[in-house]
């Protein structure tokens, strides 16, 4: 299983807060996860998640798109942070 969370403007643009599903065999990186999600949900997802400004966290740590994934991971996509 893999859990994917979406926050703030990304959540609103996709209309989804989180998804949990079996990690497909050919999804080994965050980049491949984005491709997989876009295949499932259409080009809008690829456009939204593909933006360079979108930040990625894997297991609560900031991560690159090349970061490797494994079953049990929690992945999150969100826009640049604006707290404080």
């Amino acid at each position: 299983m893999i859990a994917v969370h979406f926050f703030a403007s990304i959540r609103e643009a996709l209309g989804v807060e989180h998804k949990t599903f079996d990690l497909p065999k050919d999804v080994e990186t965050v980049e491949q996860l984005i491709t997989f999600l876009a295949q499932q949900h259409g080009g809008t997802w690829s456009e939204i998640l593909g933006k360079g400004s979108v930040m990625v966290a894997v297991n609560h740590e900031m991560a690159e798109r090349s970061a490797r994934l494994q079953a049990g991971d929690e992945v999150a996509f969100f826009p640049p942070v604006t707290g404080g």
């Binding site: 403007s9 966290a57 942070v81 604006t82 404080g84």
Partner: protein, 148 residues
């Protein structure tokens, strides 16, 4: 060390007292309070809605504080960040650092705020006369954390 993510307002007198009493050798306490401004880009702000990423927020703040502790001699730290809907004039965030000497407390407090602004997963939505919109990240905040 105290990290709290909460909807409720906080009392900076009480927080300062706790920090001050945690170590009898504290010589300097620097605090930062962030407030909801009533004007942003010349638009009248009614309120902000603060969203965060539970779990990651806490761990990212712990990491930022650990980095500050690695650079400066710090006796105690408090970080409080509110979430939910906040009206203009309300307190959003409080960072306080206690140390022996003032230079370390100033640097560590500003460092923690600069990294909170660019690394901790909080997002603000602004409600104003034009409706609601997500606040955009500022490049000046990225610059502020890059200089450390």
């Amino acid at each position: 060390m105290k990290i709290s993510i909460q909807q409720d307002d906080f009392d900076i007198a009480e927080e300062s007292r706790l920090l001050r009493e945690s170590n009898s050798n504290t010589g300097a306490i620097v605090t930062f309070s962030g407030l909801v401004r009533d004007l942003d880009n010349e638009r009248k702000v009614e309120s902000l809605i603060l969203e965060h990423y539970p779990g990651m927020t806490e761990s990212s703040l712990e990491k930022i504080i650990a980095q500050a502790q690695g650079r400066w001699s710090i006796l105690d730290v408090t970080v409080i960040h509110r979430i939910g809907e906040l009206q203009a004039g309300e307190q959003i965030v409080f960072v306080a650092v206690a140390s022996l000497h003032r230079g370390e407390a100033f640097s560590a407090c500003e460092f923690i705020m600069d990294f909170l602004k660019t690394r901790a997963p909080f997002w603000k939505k602004c409600l104003d006369e034009n409706g609601e919109s997500w606040v955009e990240a500022k490049s000046t905040d990225e610059d502020a954390s890059a200089r450390w």
